[in-house]
Symmetry: C2
């Protein structure tokens, strides 16, 4: 079975090379295809969005990526791809919660989006705490180290 998706726009970012961090201050523009502009009505009422995009420059190689040390750090345990947020995944779908800065026509400006320039846009969803905010989430200790410098 195969699933076919069509990009609905493109992400314009100042970040053009694979980058391991410092995403927090990055401002990106999401250029939605104009035929979808009406679909943005009401989005301005939300402070944050989920941006769903295709990580078009990451290829998944099972022997290399199914088990991998997070961020290729030799002090980290070998960990499965589904226990990590690495871009090297069987279906490289990026999901990022970002701050909405402005909407002008079909262009949405956001802050903190960890997508490379020209990433194809798949979806935009409003960030809704009932769906997206888990307040009592617990996680393993290695993540503390992973997080340093990402945003």
């Amino acid at each position: 079975m195969m699933i076919q998706l069509h990009p609905i726009g493109v992400i314009k970012s100042p970040v053009t090379k694979m980058s391991p961090g410092n995403w927090g201050r990055v401002q990106s523009e999401i250029h939605l295809e104009k035929r979808y502009t009406a679909g943005l009505k009401g989005l301005e009422g939300f402070s944050h969005l989920l941006v769903v995009f295709f990580m078009h420059r990451a290829s998944f190689v099972p022997d290399k990526h199914l088990l991998r040390r997070p961020r290729a750090d030799k002090d980290q345990p070998k960990t499965g791809v589904f226990a990590q947020r690495t871009k090297y995944r069987p279906n490289p779908i990026g999901i990022s919660a970002v701050k909405l800065l402005s909407i002008a026509g079909n262009v949405i400006t956001v802050q903190g989006l960890d997508a490379l320039d020209n990433s194809p846009l798949l979806d935009i969803k409003p960030y809704m705490p009932i769906f997206d905010q888990v307040c009592d989430a617990s996680l393993p200790q290695w993540v503390d180290r992973f997080e340093e410098g990402y945003f």
Copy 2:
């Protein structure tokens, strides 16, 4: 441009018909293709996951769905598809934060997944607060009403 994805498993849910709510207590099994089982190593350390799936029974009809009253409620304002979490989207990718109950081989049992039975699985990501938890998110008032009874 077209993007091709391949399901990496299937979701088995007791919910077989389109349902507007009561997802909170639903327990579902995610059957990952066995060749990916090693990719689950370390996932047991997380309390919550993001399940990414294809909403295979929802078709997007622009004239009907680009602008729509949330949950077809006539007291709601007409709102764009990208300001809603409706399943009727140009790329029907479902993203749900759920509670991890258990992992046995290639079968992951979760609670609160709003996916219909037999939905194709696209990805599993660990829920990481640094990425997924926005504590100061604000949103429009109509969402309060929308949320009643969903979980």
